[in-house]
Structures are given as structure tokens and as C-alpha cells.
């Protein structure tokens, strides 16, 4: 009992309860199924809020840890070890926050096999919580791989026309990365004698050369997940084919698992390798930023455009992480959240209009602002936040990241940040293009098209507004008053950076 | 050049010839008979290597029982030579090449690397006699002996299962 009642354990495994309940509800009771799932995720969100209240922001270390010996026989030293600190708490909250929203968005979008859908969704949440909370490499890997399975089904069963292709591609790509990480994890477990992250960090003492190899192995897994250029090929397919809720979670949380992995493992376990690799990673990040922006501008499919914009945004996150200074890292963490909110919201909105029009081709849209004023205005705010307009969340992240990268003593060159700042211009280009093509200009053919099918395009309904308003609130909040968020992460970030700086000095 | 070596050479030639005959004769029956001849010569080798008991077993079990069984089956299934087949043209040459390599390896091992060096001293009395073998068999090798009995039982069951005709067929 005491085991279950730990906040983090409860937080991680509560969705399982929902799963069990769902199993006993007949598949044709769609609304009951939906409500069950929604309530479960809402309670999970509640638990995460409870965790937040228990969380002591001034403590840089892991907190609320639940630690038990798990497999300590036959030379294994594997623990059940959950913990939370400034690096992860925001992502945890983001996850619990986005999941109910996504479920709400499926209310009318998912009509068949609702039961399976909700099952997989709750399992997915379980996996994601585990990834962000696990402090033991073995446990982490289990959750990490486990998230693949539900997502694979979500894309493969409820996805678009080429869903199978996208699903398998998603699975194989992600797995391709993680198996190398598996070997690295084993190496650590064998040679360091423990899988527990804190112990490994404390032990340290891996020679730089080996560090570099392990760093690469871990990076392979995370870089594909992020995805960093040029490993992004799976992302557009997955996003375009996935159902709306899937895209939201995929963009909102799953990609963050990659960046979080870099933050949690690569930077802490292999500081010297991180310092060595920083320029390379920064270069890739910058390429990703500009490349993603340029490519998304050329897309004819709205969802694809948003997908590529993720490549660009996460480029910023990576750049911030590998600035390896407080501004960069904090900015990166915040930007993870921002991207989750903005891009998540964008996918939601695209999904909402897609539900009515069943097409995502730019060319049929236009002048929608007149037809759907509320929708247009909401979309505008979200788009601007994703464009990094000051006063909205996107700016705070991007600015701090660029500021950090610009003066990073590890990259020691302003060029990375300067080129990345070009991405800010390009972002404006493709975002405004999106907004213009959908909402401005003469009325698009789709309006008539929809009319032909009897019902005119309607503006957002109450449920849809309820789905996006929470996101909007945070978009403004983080934009205007991000202090609370920074306070949550500051001590942990300072600790992390301190470690990295000592490593950097050791290199010299 | 003593008598034993001479005998060895002659017998060896016979054995190999018989084996080759078995291999290349078109008719199954000839193959079987060549094999019997080969087994016979091997039995003589056993005697030379003072293993009279094994030699006897060889003649009775192998050359006797087993080959007779073979001949029965051959008669049962007909002895006609198989028509030449088109399949696997590269099989035969490849096989022969491999065999040559295998033998080359063996020869290299035996006569250049001199593995299994060591001469065979003069014949020793009271060795390899039936009672000697028998003692060993039932004293030290009881378990294997029992296992072989079970093995034969299994074989019997298997043979029956495979060949018995259910009623109604």
C-alpha cells in the first residue's frame, strides 16, 4: 500500500486503473468510455498538481523519490526508482495537462473502436509519465520502449490513408535509435555496477573517449526522437497520418522525450563528451532550425507544415541545451513546454477544421476568418506564439535560448545564435503564410464545398473552445509572467550547468 | 616393409575400392554388396587392432543384420536405377571439390602436422577379448547399455508407427 501511495508511483500508474475500468465497459458504450478516459486523465492531472504542491522548488535534487530494490540478484543492481526535479516537473505537468485535452479533442473525431483508442491512450500516458520520472536506466528504457507500442497502434489503426506505412516507419526509426542506447545502458550497468542514474552520476570517472561513444549511443536514441536533422524523415509521415490527438501527444510530449533524454542523461552522465560534442550538436540544431523553417514554407499540406515547423522549433531547444549555460538550458526547458502548448494547439485547431472540411490542402482554403471569426482569432494567437511574438510564450523561450547560445562559453561563437536568429525571420514567413492562406484573402473554394454537403462551416463549439482555452491561458501566462516556471527549474538547472562547467574546465 | 604393413596396404586399397564402388555403382544392390565388402575389410582391421569382439559384432550386426535389412528394403522398393535428373547441376562438382578439400585438410593434419602420432606397439594379449569388453560394458558402462536398450525400443515403436497400416486403408 505504502508503495502505491507514493505520489510519483500513483501519478505514473493511475492511468492503469482507468485501463482496468475500460476493460469492463462494453465497446459500444462510446460516451461512457470517453468519460471514463477523460475522468481518469483529469484525476491524473489532479495528482500531478498535488505533486507540484509537494515539490520544493528551491531544492536542486531529486524529490519525492520512490526507491525500491527491484532486481538485485545475479549481479544485477536494478532499482524501481522514481524521482522528480526541476528538470522534469514541467514536462510531467505538460503531459498530464495535454492528455485530457487530447482526449477531449477526440470526442467526435474518433467514432470507431473507441475502447481500444482510449486503452492505448491511457497506456501511452503511463509510458510517458514513466519516462519523465524514472531514475533508473533499466526502468527508463522499459518505459521509453513501451511508449512506442500504444503510439504505434494509435497511428496504425486510427490514422490517415498511409497510416500503416507511417506507423511502421515510426516504430522502426525510433527503435533503431533506442537499441543502441540499450547497449550503452548495459555497458554502464556492467562496468559501473549500477543502473541508478544518481549513483552513476556520482560515480562518474568514465574516460572521455568511452564517454564519447556512450554519448553517441544515447544521442542516437534521443536525436531520432527529437527529431534532429537529418533524422527527421519519420516525423512528417507520422504527424500527417496520425489522428489529431495522436499528433498532439506526439508533438507535445513524445518529441520532448528526446530532448529530455539529452538533458537528463547525455548532459549529466557524460559531461565531458557533452562539452566536446556541443559544437556538432549546435550545428545540427541550427541546420534543423533553418531547414525546418524553409521546408515547412514549401508545404501544401497544413499538417505537414506544422510537422516541419516542429523540426525547426526543436532545433531551438537543442541549441539551447548545448549552449550549456543557464540561459540556454532554462530557455530550452521552457521552450519544450512552449512547443508542447503551441504546436499541440496548432494540431488541435487543424484537426478541428479538418473534421469539418476533410482536407488539409492550403489551396482550397482562404478568407476563413470571416466565416469562423473565433477560430481565426484563436488560431492567430497560437500561430503568433509559435512564431515567437514577444508577450506570448514562444518568445521567452526562443530569446533566452538564443541569448544563451550567443554567449555560450562552450560554443564560444556567436554564429550559431545569429544563424538561428535567422530562423526567427523564416518562422514569421511560414507562420504568416499559413495564417494568410487559411484566414485571409478571398473566400476559399472549401466554403462552398462544405455547403454543398448540406451544412455550412461552423465556428468553434463550446467543447472545442473548452479544449483550446486552457492552452491559450498558458500561452499568455508564460509569455507575460514566466517567473514561476523559471523558479521551478532554476536550482536544478544551476546544478546541472555547474557540473558541465567543471567538466568544460577539466577539458581545457 | 613388414607383413603387417603389407596387409594393411592391401586391405586399405580393398576397403577404399569397395567404398568407391558403393558410391558409384548405378545399382542399389551393388552398392549394398560393395558396402558389405567394405565392412568385412574393416572387420579384418579390427582383428589386426586386437579388437576381436568388435570384429565379430561388426560382421554379425553390420555386415549381417543391417545389410540384410537393407537388401530386403531394396528388393521391396525395386532396384531400378534412378533416371538422371536435371536438378542441381552444380551439386556434384561442388561436392567433389569439397570432399577433396576435406581430405586435403585431413591429410595435412595427419602427415604434416603429425597429429595422432605415436606408433602401435606389439599386440598385447588378453585385451579386446569378449570377456574383457563384457566386464567393462556391464560394470562401468551399465547406464549407456540400458539407454541403448531403450533406444532400440524407441526405434521399434517408431518403425511400427511409421509403417503400420490403419484398418480401413
Amino acid at each position: 500500500m505504502e508503495f502505491i501511495l507514493q505520489p510519483l508511483t500513483l501519478l505514473t500508474f493511475f492511468p492503469l486503473l482507468g485501463v482496468l475500468v475500460l476493460l469492463f465497459i462494453p465497446g459500444d458504450k462510446k460516451n461512457i468510455l470517453r468519460w471514463t478516459a477523460l475522468v481518469t486523465t483529469l484525476i491524473t492531472f489532479g495528482i500531478s498538481i498535488w505533486v507540484l504542491t509537494l515539490f520544493n522548488a528551491s531544492n536542486p535534487d531529486l524529490q519525492l523519490t520512490a526507491q525500491y530494490d527491484w532486481i538485485t540478484v545475479a549481479g544485477w543492481n536494478i532499482q524501481y526508482h522514481l524521482g522528480i526535479d526541476g528538470l522534469s516537473i514541467l514536462l510531467v505537468l505538460l503531459t498530464t495537462f495535454l492528455t485530457p485535452i487530447s482526449i477531449l479533442s477526440t470526442w467526435t473525431a474518433v467514432e470507431e473502436r473507441v475502447k481500444d483508442f482510449m486503452l492505448f491512450f491511457l497506456l501511452l500516458e503511463l509510458g510517458m509519465m514513466g519516462v519523465f520520472l524514472a531514475q533508473d536506466l533499466f526502468l527508463f528504457y522499459i518505459f521509453w520502449e513501451f511508449t512506442l507500442v500504444p503510439m504505434y497502434f494509435l497511428i496504425g489503426i486510427w490514422g490517415g490513408p498511409r497510416r500503416i506505412y507511417a506507423a511502421v516507419k515510426f516504430f522502426l526509426y525510433t527503435m533503431a535509435g533506442s537499441i543502441l542506447m540499450l547497449l550503452a545502458i548495459l555497458w554502464l550497468g556492467v562496468n559501473q555496477g549500477t543502473f541508478s542514474l544518481p549513483d552513476l552520476i556520482a560515480k562518474g570517472g568514465i574516460d572521455p573517449q568511452t564517454q564519447l561513444w556512450l554519448f553517441i549511443a544515447f544521442a542516437a536514441a534521443f536525436a531520432i526522437k527529437v527529431p534532429m536533422w537529418p533524422l527527421h524523415s519519420w516525423l512528417p509521415d507520422a504527424h500527417v497520418e496520425a489522428p489529431t490527438a495522436g499528433s498532439v501527444i506526439l508533438a507535445g510530449v513524445l518529441l520532448k522525450m528526446g530532448t529530455y533524454g539529452f538533458l537528463r542523461f547525455n548532459l549529466t552522465l557524460f559531461p565531458q563528451a557533452a562539452v566536446q560534442a556541443a559544437p556538432v550538436m549546435a550545428v545540427l540544431a541550427v541546420i534543423g532550425i533553418i531547414y525546418g523553417a524553409a521546408v515547412s514554407y514549401a508545404q501544401a499540406d497544413i499538417k505537414k507544415l506544422v510537422a516541419y515547423s516542429s523540426v525547426s522549433h526543436l532545433g531551438f531547444v537543442m541549441l539551447g541545451l548545448f549552449a550549456l549555460n543557464p540561459q540556454g538550458v532554462s530557455g530550452a526547458i521552457l521552450q519544450m513546454i512552449n512547443h508542447g502548448l503551441s504546436t499541440g494547439a496548432l494540431f488541435l485547431l487543424v484537426g478541428m477544421v479538418y473534421e469539418q472540411t476533410h482536407t488539409r490542402e492550403f489551396k482550397v482554403y482562404g478568407g476563413l476568418w470571416k466565416v469562423m471569426p473565433v477560430f481565426g482569432s484563436v488560431f492567430l494567437v497560437v500561430a503568433l506564439s509559435s512564431m515567437g511574438l514577444p508577450g506570448l510564450n514562444g518568445f521567452v523561450g526562443e530569446f533566452t535560448i538564443l541569448l544563451g547560445a550567443f554567449g555560450s562559453t562552450v560554443l564560444h561563437s556567436p554564429w550559431y545564435a545569429s544563424l538561428a536568429a535567422l530562423g526567427v525571420i523564416l518562422a514569421a514567413v511560414y507562420i504568416l503564410y499559413t495564417f494568410q492562406k487559411i484566414f485571409m484573402g478571398p473566400e476559399g473554394s472549401i466554403v462552398e464545398e462544405v455547403k454543398k454537403h448540406g451544412h455550412a462551416l461552423r465556428d468553434l463549439n463550446a467543447r472545442e473552445i473548452a479544449t483550446v482555452v486552457p492552452l491559450l491561458i498558458f500561452i499568455f501566462w508564460i509569455g507575460l509572467y514566466p517567473a514561476p516556471f523559471f523558479h521551478l527549474m532554476a536550482p536544478a538547472v544551476d546544478k546541472l550547468v555547474a557540473g558541465l562547467q567543471t567538466a568544460a574546465l577539466a577539458m581545457r | 616393409m613388414n607383413a603387417e604393413l603389407l596387409a594393411f596396404i592391401i586391405l586399405a586399397i580393398i576397403a577404399i575400392a569397395a567404398a568407391l564402388g558403393m558410391l558409384f555403382s548405378r545399382s542399389t544392390v551393388y552398392s549394398a554388396l560393395f558396402l558389405v565388402l567394405n565392412f568385412g575389410t574393416v572387420a579384418v582391421f579390427y582383428i589386426l587392432l586386437n579388437a576381436p569382439f568388435i570384429a565379430m559384432a561388426q560382421v554379425s550386426v553390420y555386415a549381417g543384420a543391417i545389410m540384410v535389412l537393407f537388401l530386403f528394403v531394396i528388393m521391396l522398393l525395386g532396384t531400378e536405377a534412378l533416371p538422371p535428373s536435371r536438378a542441381l547441376p552444380w551439386q556434384r562438382p561442388l561436392a567433389i571439390v569439397l570432399a577433396v578439400i576435406l581430405f586435403a585438410e585431413a591429410a595435412y593434419l595427419l602427415f604434416i602436422r603429425r597429429v595422432a602420432a605415436g606408433d602401435v606397439p606389439q599386440p598385447i594379449q588378453a585385451f579386446g577379448s569378449p570377456q574383457g569388453v563384457g566386464n567393462a560394458l556391464f560394470a562401468s558402462y551399465l547406464l549407456p547399455f540400458e539407454v541403448t536398450s531403450v533406444l532400440l525400443l524407441i526405434a521399434m515403436v517408431g518403425a511400427i508407427v511409421l509403417t503400420i497400416r490403419e484398418k480401413g486403408k
Binding site: V149, L186 | A116, L142, L143, V147, T148, L151, I154, G158
Partner: protein, 479 residues
């Protein structure tokens, strides 16, 4: 006259005798269900005895057989596999009209042979056990006569098996020639004292390796596997895939880890290459399969490669214990998953081998969610995705490889398991994402088999420590 302490091989003896009795009883039993039941009882009894042996150890019969943690573990595993084999068979035989009592007798005989193999401490016993487990399998493969596929499978298996036996015998002869004995302990002593002939010993052991490699279907001695697995009755295949592998690896571990550690420097590269080849070839050719039985056949080849990987560093005294434990653990996970998968196959198989194409699995997820879920678990486990036993098993195997510092081999291992993900996923894709109207048969024992297997595959993967402990306690002993 040395002491004959039968207690060492009590389960084995019991099982053999039980088999003989069953042979007689069967003549008077009309309903073969009872025969099956009796067979199961025999296995259960023997299993009980095996478990009661835990902790005890010793050697006997002039040091021909040993009893140690290793043999007990393997025996238990074999008997469990036997039980599953019976559970699978009894409905299936009836359905396909090949129900004969001898099936179970031969099954029991084969298992006793495997158990003997696990306990063998003398090459003579190894050889005899090899025959004792193989001959019933030859017969069982052809059991579905007069179905030509079955007979063909039987004959192929037999001819090639006998052929490989020839190598084993010759290998043993050379080992004997090198050391003057066939007893493992004597061989070790000879090898250690240097009175042996190293090269001859190496060649001999290599030939033995070939023979055993054939049994576990290691490339390039694997060619029989797909044909036999496909042709043989599914229940036989299921058992063969598990049992023969267990016995073969038991012998490999026993003989090489105990008798030939001195040859590691020579043999390790060979085994490493075999392992790599097996993983690659098995997984790659599997991609092209459309028949589920062949698919599983190639998958079993691939898994032989993985287990070989754990076996590669057998020569390093600090790793060998991990090696053995990892191998055993993986065998357990493989047996469980394998039987589960085959149970599903049998559930979908219909007469004249219909329902064996992967395409026949379309729509399973919609129509039979439970069955599909179970199959998904098995596929994930074979791929090595958590939370399944297969993942934990692979984790353990790779650990052995990494401890032995065979990093390249480990990388090949993970990459091939990535390839495997693709064809295992294809089954899942078909079940959930393609339409179809599959027919299944639901038999209580069958359902129990796959249900249980699926549950265990997941649950044990979450609490593997007990299995870990047991496997790592199953050390090889030498007397």
C-alpha cells in the same frame, strides 16, 4: 562395481519407465484423451521429482551422469515444455485425425533423451542422448502420414540428422584420440595436464560443435529447419522448436563450458561467427516469409543465434556464469513465447494446412481481441520490446556479450533484432490494421496455453528477479 545411485536420474528414469508403461496401457485405452492425461501426469510427476531435487547434486554411474543446478533447471524447463507440448497436441491431433497413442509415448521418450542430455557427463551419454531425443522427433515429424509434407519433413530431418550424427561421432572419436577418454572430467584433466593433443582435440570439438549446431539450427546447419517446421504437425513443431533447442544448448554449454574451456581461444571466433551468421540469416530470410510456420521457423533460427551470442564468451571464467545464466534465462523466455505463438498458430490452423498464411490473420484484432492481444505480446516478446520476457532475456544476453567485450556481436544482435521487428510487426499489422474474417478453434487446453503464456510473458518480465536468481544459481558442476 561402482554404486548405482539412481536417485541422481530419478526423474529421467521415472519418465522413461512411465513411457514404456504408457506404451502398453495405450493398447487398452480407447479414448486418447486419457493417454494424453496420463502422459501429462507422468511429466508432472517427473517435474515434481526434479523440483524436489533442487539443491542436491552429485555424479554417478562411473561419472557418466551428473546432477547439478544446471541439469535441474534444464530438466524442469524440458518437462514444462513437455506439458505444454501435450496441452497443445491433444486437441490438435484429434482435429487433424492423426490421433495415436504412440504420439505421447514418443514425446515422453524424446523428453527423457533431452533430460539425459542435460545430465550427460560423458561423451558416450551425449551421443546416446542425442539419438534418444532425435529418433522420436524424426518419427513425430512424419507422424501426420500419409500427408506428404509430413513424411517429407520426417525423411529430410532424418537424413540430415543422421548425417550430422556422423560428424558428432567422428568428432568424439578424435576427442578420444586426443585425450584417451570420453569422460568430460577426464578430458579436462588431460587437456589441463597438457598430455593431450591440442589440435586434434580442437578439431574433434569443432566436429561436435557442428553436430550440436545442427540440432539448435545454427547457420549454416539450419537448412532443414524451415522445411521440417513447416511439414511437421504444428504441435510437433512447437515442441521440437523448444525441446531440441533446450537440449542442444544444454549439451553445448555442458560440453564446451566444462570440457573445452582451454580451447576457447580457438573456438570462440568460430562460435561468434556462427552466432552472427545465424542472427543475420535467420532474421533476414524471415522478412520474405508469408507462411506463419516458416516465419516462426526462421525466427527460431534467429533466436538460436541470440542464444549462441550468450555462449560466445564461454571461455572467460568471469563471464561464463553470466553466459550460462543468460542462456538459460533466454531459453525460458523463448520457450514460453514460442509455445504461446504456436498455440495461436494452432488455434488458427485448419485442415489441409489452411489458415497458415499471415494474411489469414487479417481482422483478428477485431474479431478475437484476446487472441490477437496474446499474439501481439508474443510478437513483441520475440522482438524484444518491453514489457515482455523477450526484452529482459535479450537484455541479459547482451549483458553477457558486453561483459565478454564482444561489442560488435552485440551491435549485430541489436541491429538484427531491429530487422526482426519489421516482420514481427507485419503480423501485428495484419491482425489489427487489415480486414479479414479469420476462423479459429477454441479448445480449453489451447486457450489456457496461450493465455497463460501471454500472462507470464508480461508478468515475469516485471518481476524477473526470481527467475534471474534461479538461472544464475544453475551452475555447471564437474566431478
Amino acid at each position: 562395481m561402482p554404486p548405482l545411485n539412481f536417485s541422481l536420474i530419478l526423474p529421467l528414469v521415472t519418465l522413461t519407465i512411465w513411457a514404456c508403461l504408457l506404451l502398453l496401457l495405450d493398447l487398452f485405452i480407447r479414448s486418447k484423451d486419457i493417454t494424453a492425461l496420463l502422459a501429462a501426469v507422468g511429466l508432472a510427476v517427473s517435474l515434481g521429482m526434479t523440483i524436489s531435487q533442487i539443491g542436491s547434486s552429485g555424479s554417478g554411474f562411473n561419472n557418466m551422469v551428473v546432477l547439478d543446478g544446471f541439469s535441474i533447471f534444464v530438466d524442469a524447463l524440458l518437462l514444462a515444455a513437455g506439458l505444454l507440448g501435450v496441452a497443445l497436441a491433444h486437441g490438435y491431433l484429434k482435429r487433424t485425425g492423426i490421433e495415436r497413442g504412440e504420439y505421447y509415448t514418443l514425446l515422453l521418450f524424446s523428453i527423457s533423451g533431452m533430460m539425459l542430455m542435460a545430465q550427460a557427463a560423458d561423451l558416450i551419454i551425449v551421443f546416446l542422448a542425442l539419438e534418444m531425443l532425435s529418433i522420436p522427433l524424426y518419427v513425430l515429424s512424419a507422424f501426420a502420414r500419409p500427408r506428404l509434407e509430413s513424411e517429407e519433413a520426417g525423411l529430410k530431418y532424418f537424413l540430415l540428422g543422421a548425417f550430422s550424427t556422423g560428424f558428432v561421432v567422428y568428432g568424439i572419436a578424435l576427442v578420444f584420440g586426443a585425450t584417451g577418454s570420453t569422460s568430460l572430467s577426464a578430458i579436462v584433466r588431460a587437456a589441463a595436464s597438457g598430455s593431450s593433443n591440442g589440435l586434434l582435440l580442437t578439431i574433434g570439438s569443432a566436429l561436435i560443435l557442428v553436430g550440436l549446431g545442427f540440432k539448435v539450427a545454427a547457420v549454416p546447419f539450419h537448412m532443414w529447419t524451415p522445411d521440417v517446421y513447416q511439414g511437421a504437425p504444428s504441435s510437433v513443431t512447437a515442441f521440437m522448436a523448444a525441446g531440441a533447442k533446450i537440449a542442444g544448448f544444454a549439451a553445448l554449454l555442458r560440453v564446451f563450458a566444462l570440457a573445452f574451456p582451454s580451447l576457447a581461444s580457438n573456438l570462440t571466433p568460430v562460435i561468434a561467427v556462427l552466432s552472427a551468421l545465424t542472427m543475420i540469416v535467420g532474421n533476414v530470410i524471415a522478412i520474405a516469409q508469408t507462411n506463419i510456420k516458416r516465419l516462426l521457423a526462421y525466427s527460431s533460427i534467429a533466436h538460436a543465434g541470440y542464444i549462441l551470442m550468450a555462449f560466445v564468451p564461454y571461455g572467460q571464467s568471469n563471464v561464463v556464469s553470466t553466459s550460462v545464466a543468460a542462456g538459460l534465462f533466454y531459453l525460458v523466455s523463448y520457450v514460453l513465447t514460442n509455445f504461446g505463438a504456436w498455440a495461436v498458430v494452432i488455434a488458427l490452423e485448419r485442415s489441409e494446412g489452411r489458415g497458415l498464411e499471415i494474411s489469414d490473420y487479417g481482422g483478428l484484432g477485431r474479431k478475437y481481441p484476446a487472441l490477437a492481444a496474446a499474439m501481439t505480446v508474443f510478437m513483441l516478446s520475440l522482438t524484444g520490446i518491453p514489457p515482455t520476457l523477450g526484452f529482459v532475456g535479450k537484455f541479459y544476453l547482451f549483458r553477457a556479450a558486453i561483459q565478454g567485450q564482444f561489442y560488435l556481436l552485440a551491435v549485430i544482435g541489436v541491429l538484427t533484432s531491429l530487422i526482426s521487428a519489421y516482420y514481427y510487426l507485419r503480423v501485428v499489422v495484419t491482425m489489427y490494421m487489415r480486414e479479414g474474417d479469420p476462423q479459429t478453434t477454441s479448445e480449453p487446453w489451447l486457450n489456457i496455453t496461450w493465455g497463460l503464456a501471454a500472462l507470464l510473458t508480461v508478468i515475469v518480465s516485471l518481476v524477473p528477479q526470481y527467475l534471474f536468481a534461479w538461472a544464475s544459481a544453475a551452475v555447471l558442476k564437474l566431478f
